[in-house]
Each structure stands twice: as structure tokens, then as C-alpha cells.
Amino acid sequence: MGSVTLRNIRKSYGAVEVLHGIDLDIKDGEFTVLVGPSGCGKSTLLRSIAGLETISDGEISVDDTVINTLVPKERDIAMVFQNYALYPHMTVAKNMGFSLRLAKESQEEIDKKVKAAAEILDLNALLDRYPRQLSGGQRQRVAMGRAIVRDPKVFLFDEPLSNLDAKLRVQMRSEIKELHQRLKTTTIYVTHDQIEAMTMADKIVVMRGGHVEQIGSPIELYDNPASVFVAGFIGSPAMNFIDAVGDGKALKTTTQELLGTPNATVASGQKVIAGFRPEDIRLAEKGIAAKVALIEPTGAETQLTLRTENEAIIMTTRDRITHSVGDQVFFEVIEGKLHCFDSETERSLAEGGQAQ
């Protein structure tokens, strides 16, 4: 068992508060990803859960036991670090068994557990090697093995893949996810990469400036972003945003072109920010006029940059494009895919959007 509850977590360095009261519930066995730009406090939050940082206020509990006053070793939490943090003078086996050795377990027991963990991670052949003799991916696996042998209640990952090259990152991503599905240990994973968050998480926590912006499953966040920030952060290429005005049930651009009906009720004349994803627009006979500014084929899809009077709109399509740069085109937003955010608070105007 390993459910984690955070209540009103605050953390200050001197007069500067970096976490402004974080509340979070993580169910046993859940894979939770904390995601956000640099400096949003996600790593600080993770390190607070680990016990490497003390919190200024609030309560962290694992299975209803308050742990924020305990030292790391008493928390029954294991952590995988960004730079692997392997002990360079110890072999792979020693690295993995170090925590057990400190816990004064018998050598037999240590060997057994290390072997079992090595089996899971396919490290058997490397047990006598030193970290410097391993590749980046192998080192990362050893770091994970070190966490696994302890059989902790919670795994913490602090941007574990950011030091790997792109191809290896994709591979390790699936390995970590598979590992989680096998072990079913509660996992909290920090990353700044929204694709990692989307692909791995059961639950994503989007953070910004020490606040939680939105919590939800990847698809929830993608389909119903609670704010302009979340909408822009999740998804690549990012959502298009343009200023718009309410007009009856519909939204119009500032140049009085019809955008469509949003997913929220908007008063006539209300200024809002309209948002729509690149894949949710299509070229049409009529609609908003734009010029093709850039065509970027990626094979499966083609990304178009359309320039309207005031904005540049990104569009992706799986259709083959016959237009060329400079052509005059019209586009429209697919029915039901128009998001709408308050222009002041930048929160979603859709139902439930204000709740967060």
C-alpha cells in the first residue's frame, strides 16, 4: 500500500515562498506525473516528499501516517535521480544492495533481493561492473534497481530521462511504464516534458509558479484544459490562442469573423481568449481568411502556419497539401472543439473550469 496525501504544502526559502499551498491526493499504485516549466516548484515538491527538503507548512502523509517530520530513511520512499547518483566506487550489485547493507540485512538476503531486481531490469550480466563502465541507459536502470530492491511504498523519479538521448528516452519511457505496471508501486514522476507526462501518467499534475494549475488524466487535461497555461503546455504543437468577443452563442474574432460556438456560455460583447488545437481546424471554402506562410511536412502529418491579419495560426493535417506558400486560404474550427478562456483570469469558461 502507498497512498500519498499532501495538504497545504508550503515551502519558503527565507522570504521567498516557492510552494503556495499544494493539495494533492495520490491513490495507491497510481502513476502521477508532476509537470511544469523550470522553476514551477515540481522538483522542490518531490524533494519535500522524499524528505531531502523540509517544508515550511502543511502535511505529507503516506497511508495516513504523517511523514513530514521523519528523516528520509524512515519514510519508506525510494528516489531515482536525474544524474543517476550511482556510487562510482561500488559495483552495480553493491550500488543496488547498499540500502539493504545499511539496514543490516544478511548478505544472503541482499544477494537474493539484488538478483531479483536485476532480473526485472535485465541487469544480471552487469552486476560486477562499475558505473563508469555502463552506458547512460544502463546507469539509469541501475538507479531504478537501487530503488526497487528496497521495495518501498512510493517511488519518486526526478527527471530521470533528461540526460538520455532522444531515442533512448523513448525506450526508457516505455520501460519505466512497464515496470510500473508490473510492480504496481505508487509512483511520483517529475518532468518538464509534456510528452513524457502524457504518455506515462495515470494522473498529471500541472504546476506553475508554486501553484497547482490542474490535476487530471492526460486526456482530461488535453480535452478540457482549465486554463490558458495548461492548454498551451499540454499538446504539441501548442494550442492556438486568439482574442475573441462573444456574439450571441458564438464567438467572433476582433475583426468580426465568425469562429464558431464555444464549449461555454459567453455573454454578447464579453472579451475572451479563444483556443483551438492545431488538429481541430481544417481548410474550407469559407471561414477565416489567411495566407499560407509555412508548410512543414513530417511525413504522417503536415504542419501549416497560416497568417491571418493579426495572428499566426498553426494547423496540422493528415491530408496531403496541394497549396503552396503565399496561397490565400480559409479555415474553420471543427464544431465542438473551440475552447474559451476568461481574458482576465485566463481560466476556462467551460463548466468545471472555474472549479480548480
Partner: protein, 294 residues
């Protein structure tokens, strides 16, 4: 390689080779031959004898000198490094106090040898020294202790002053090494359940092992070569109780003009130093290799 290039290469290293020959190999050769030469009253009387070494063997003071030198070098190095390690570990902690101390601690190290020696000589003086007086006035001792006059104490007093003088740099080097230990390794050890002592033993020490052995050998060499401090403070006295290799060589050559015997001692000294360095290179051979492969 072109022929002209080869000439240029030799021409470029020639000055260094000449300097090493003139100032390192030359004098060493000179001392080595002198140690095998009979010298009487400053006059050379015949080459090719082991009489100088035999004389040393027979000299009752030489045994004492060897014992004192062992205390001086081994005791001094051991204390320098262990105290330096403790102080260095403390200085590695981030705080305002340690920031200041890191600068202040170099003070003993920048003072000239002569000043250090004179200051300590007076502080440890039997009758008027402040240390003895303080001990007496606080009632810790009855009467003053003659630190430099007591044959049993004097060698250890020298070692204390030596540590005071040489330890700061050792501490700073080790402090820098400790601060260079990757934070995430220490944090990983915390997560693995290591307490402060275990973190030091299993993470910090192995990470600074290279610096630690280097600094040990360097201190050994410094201490072996240190002459001014013991010479000014005690001059080898009382009654040779603090006579060490460096001071005895000086005394034999420049007070008694026994060049031959002094040279013989220098050769023994050199052999000792070379063995230390060789040991160091042997111990660190793996580190060299692994550093290179990184």
C-alpha cells in the same frame, strides 16, 4: 616527422633539460658522490668509502634522530591529515561562519616560518610563555611546564606547531574535495538510509580518496623538507631530544663541517622520500587509470 621539426623539438626542450641537469641531477650527483667520500675538517680525503655510513651507524645520536624524524614525519603527517580532514569536513558545510573561517584559516599558512617559530617559541617558553602561565593561573597545572625544555615533550610540541602551520592548507584542499562530491550521491545515500557517519564513510571518503592520498604524500614531503621551524624553535635541543634529519644534516655540515656524513644522511633522506613517492604512485595507479578513462 620532418627532420627540421625534430631539431626544433629538441631545441625547444633543451632549456628545461639543461635546467634539470644543472639544478636537480647535478647537485644530487654531487651529494651522492660526497656521501662516498672521506672528509676531514672540510678537506676531501679519498673517494670510494662507506665510512660515512658506518660513522652514522655508530653515532648514538643518529638512532635518536631516526626516532625523532619518525615522530616528526609520521606523527606530523598523520595529525595534519586527520585534523585537516575533520576541519575540512566542517569547513565544507555551507554557512556564514565557515565562509569566514575558510579565509581566516589560511593565516597560519601565510605567515613566514621564522615568525611562526619565534611566536610559538615565546608562547611555549618555560617561565614567561603565555600558554604555561595560563595553564598555571587557571589551576590546570602546578607551576609552569617547560614545554621546550622537557626531552619527553619537546618533539611533540614541535609536531603541534607543525600541525598548526601545515594543517590549514590540507584542510582547504580536502574541503574543496568534499565540496566537489556530487550532492545527488549524498542525497541518494540519505534516501538509502545512511546516517551522517555512514554518508561520510561510504560516499564522501571514497569520492575524496584521490585527494586524500595526494595530500598525505604532499604533506609528508613538506614535513620532511621543513627545517626552519624546528631549527629556530629548538635547534635540535635539549641534548638532541628534538634533533631530526633536517636539523642534524645542517648541524653536521655547517657547524661540524662533516660534509661526508651530512651527505650520507641526505642520501638516506632522499631514498626515504623517493620510497614515499613511489608508494604514492603505486597506491594511486588505479586512480590515474580511471581518471584518464573518464
Amino acid at each position: 616527422m620532418l627532420k627540421s621539426d625534430r631539431f626544433l623539438a629538441y631545441a625547444l626542450i633543451l632549456p628545461v633539460v639543461a635546467a634539470v641537469l644543472a639544478f636537480v641531477v647535478g647537485p644530487t650527483y654531487n651529494v651522492a658522490t660526497l656521501s662516498l667520500t672521506q672528509v676531514v675538517m672540510g678537506q676531501e680525503r679519498g673517494f670510494g668509502t662507506l665510512n660515512n655510513f658506518r660513522a652514522l651507524w655508530a653515532d648514538p645520536v643518529f638512532g635518536l634522530v631516526l626516532k625523532n624524524t619518525a615522530i616528526w614525519i609520521l606523527g606530523g603527517t598523520l595529525l595534519c591529515v586527520s585534523v585537516g580532514l575533520g576541519v575540512g569536513a566542517y569547513l565544507a558545510i555551507d554557512s556564514k561562519v565557515t565562509g569566514w573561517l575558510r579565509a581566516l584559516i589560511l593565516l597560519p599558512w601565510v605567515l613566514p616560518d621564522v615568525v611562526t617559530a619565534m611566536a610559538w617559541k615565546w608562547m611555549l617558553h618555560g617561565q614567561v610563555g603565555i600558554i604555561g602561565q595560563t595553564l598555571e593561573s587557571t589551576g590546570l597545572t602546578e607551576g609552569t611546564i617547560s614545554f621546550m625544555g622537557d626531552p619527553k615533550l619537546v618533539m611533540w610540541m614541535l609536531v603541534v606547531v607543525l600541525v598548526w602551520r601545515k594543517m590549514p592548507l590540507v584542510a582547504l584542499i580536502l574541503c574543496a574535495a568534499i565540496r566537489a562530491v556530487p550532492d545527488d550521491q549524498v542525497e541518494a545515500a540519505r534516501m538509502d538510509g545512511a546516517n551522517a557517519v555512514e554518508r561520510f564513510r561510504f560516499v564522501t571518503l571514497p569520492n575524496i580518496a584521490f585527494s586524500l592520498t595526494a595530500v598525505t604524500v604532499i604533506s609528508m614531503i613538506w614535513i620532511t623538507a621543513e627545517f626552519a621551524l624546528p631549527w629556530i624553535m629548538t635547534g635540535g635541543g635539549p641534548a638532541n631530544a628534538s634533533q631530526i634529519m633536517a636539523t642534524y644534516i645542517y648541524q653536521q655540515s655547517f657547524e661540524f663541517f662533516n660534509w661526508g656524513v651530512a651527505s650520507a644522511m641526505s642520501v638516506i633522506n632522499l631514498v626515504m622520500l623517493v620510497s614515499i613517492v613511489a608508494l604514492y604512485l603505486y597506491v594511486n595507479r588505479r586512480s590515474w587509470a580511471s581518471e584518464a578513462s573518464k
